[in-house]
Symmetry: C2
Subunit: 340 residues, 2 copies
């Protein structure tokens, strides 16, 4: 079995010198979704973003019980600043592990590697999947499984999964968010960056990520990409097969007409087609797969426009349509509790 | 741009001490499909398989103009025998490059690495994809493209592609076989092992493998896996999107009822469903994608049974059905020349 990421909580969230809230969004996301795991923030300058946690240094955080310093933002310019390297070394010396979402692998930097070895602390580069992942088996896994799928990248698949998991927990259900991307992994403290997995092992990685579980346990698995994305559809299909989803939640941005990020001519297909294709392919590994509902990101629209469009989609597809930010996901969870 | 495998021809085909023709099948395949590139065979014992080429040592082969020694068979037991290591070192010293399909990466073995560096010779581990592959773009590529797709693994996707390419060449067409697996790469002397590519770069790898070309040039791209395979469907979809195929050739083994290799309960779906799903998904990156025909492997059946079943499939799906071994692929190439 491959060794999976499992971060020691609570976290010290590294903000560095980020003055832009967008740059600090992973730290802010962790503080939002996991307040109980977010012990403090570490800012290198007074002008850095304040995400509302107590300011701490690495020694102070370690003394207060922190397990891991989380570096979830990229340095300006790309290469690792000397000041960040010093923070990493000091964090390890103070007894913290490091979890990083950087492209640069911190665990491969000799200074960090040496101190980690000497102190026995761990460095998790969460973009790097575990070694020795198996191929998929397709053997039916126990427990319930829900996967968020999308019309495109960046339409709310992670957010929707986190919101559904939070609502299930609020209702006392036994559920787990299964992270498949770096931000989700840093929030949950566990997961596999599936887009970095070698193709042959993709569905196997998802089987490892969401293994056999209790009959009443619900895995809420974070989707990636889209079956209709000209670059990343393979990732989406490996996820779909490996997830063996009982329920799919379709995520979509209202007002987006074309695949984002430079794919001219690639229209977002009609929702009906996206739903049917996902269901058809999902049923290869779980014949019971059904659509739970649709989660839209309506942030491009005014509230009344958004409500009108959501009502129209609901009418057309005869499923619940929510905006996790504006309406919450209760309607999806109502369906889940009854039908999955 | 990633550096692609390009083997120096002709080849010295290493047979080692293999006494089983199945073990030597890659060498035999190269000799069959590329007689003009197959200069000689190197056997370590008199009982080793004779694939009908002149026996040569590495120095003799180099003197006769060989460019590469090809190691296309796995050693018994898995680990590299001392005698093979000595052959590799001697081959490099004699001026040959090495191309290997072994799981063990020869280029990572210090003795081999050092001699390769000193002699300036290359070691190609063909299971390893090139570094720095890009993500897919989905931008329409020029030239014609045909992809073999399958109902399962090991149903003749490589063989069919090689046979179609050979028939096109026989007719004077400008075509190229694009290899996506280790055996195909060793036969063609070029290609990318797509199942070893990180998921995010899968369709991008295929765009690199089969780049823009002359309007009348035809790429015959080797497919992998099946959209209906519970472990490997992601590889198949990345290939399908990256290939931008104008024409698909469906490959299928007559008499196979279930996905091979330990996937109980996974029936081979009806051909109609496999065809339609492949076409629907292929049309995302090439709206003109169509079915060229069906290539079956009928080796489980007697000739008359095979002919009857092929006629039935032809009738039902209204496309040409061939067995590349028993009937040749002329009917598929007739269609290709007229319609693609």
């Amino acid at each position: 079995m491959a060794e999976l990421i499992e971060l020691r909580k609570p976290y010290l969230l590294f903000i560095g010198d980020a003055e832009d809230t967008m740059v600090a969004k992973t730290a802010a996301g962790i503080a939002y979704w996991r307040p109980e795991d977010s012990l403090g923030q570490m800012r290198l300058t007074p002008d850095a973003v304040d995400i509302g946690l107590p300011d701490m240094g690495v020694v102070e955080a370690a003394n207060a019980g922190a397990g891991t310093i989380v570096i979830g933002l990229a340095p300006v310019g790309g290469s690792l600043p000397e000041s960040w390297l010093l923070v990493c070394v000091a964090a390890l010396e103070a007894g913290l592990d490091i979890a990083s979402g950087l492209h640069t692998q911190l665990g491969e930097i000799p200074e960090i590697q040496q101190v980690a070895e000497r102190t026995g602390r761990k460095v998790f580069d969460v973009r790097v999947p575990p070694a020795n992942l198996p191929c998929g088996t397709g053997v039916k896994l126990t427990g319930k499984r829900v996967l968020t799928v999308g019309t495109d990248c960046c339409v709310g698949k992670m957010y929707s999964a986190l919101a559904i998991n939070a609502e299930l927990k609020r209702r006392g259900q036994n559920s787990t968010f299964r992270a498949t991307g770096q931000t989700g992994i840093l929030i949950e403290g566990a997961g596999i960056a599936v887009d970095a997995v070698v193709s042959d092992f993709l569905s196997g990685a998802v089987e490892v990520l969401a293994p056999d579980n209790d009959a009443d346990h619900i895995d809420i698995i974070e989707g990636q990409g889209s079956l209709f994305h000209p670059a990343y559809a393979a990732v989406s299909l490996g996820l779909l097969h490996g997830a063996q989803a009982d329920g799919l939640v379709l995520c979509h941005e209202l007002g987006r007409a074309e695949i984002d990020g430079g794919y001219p001519g690639y229209a977002i297909p009609p929702l009906k087609q996206v739903i049917q294709t996902n269901l058809d392919l999902a049923r290869r590994t779980n014949a019971r797969a059904k659509l739970v509902g649709i989660a839209v990101n309506s942030s491009l629209l005014e509230a009344d426009q958004a409500a009108a469009q959501m009502a129209e989609i609901e009418q057309k597809h005869q499923v619940s349509v929510v905006d996790p930010v504006r309406t919450g996901v209760a309607a999806l969870v109502d369906y889940l509790e009854k039908n999955i």
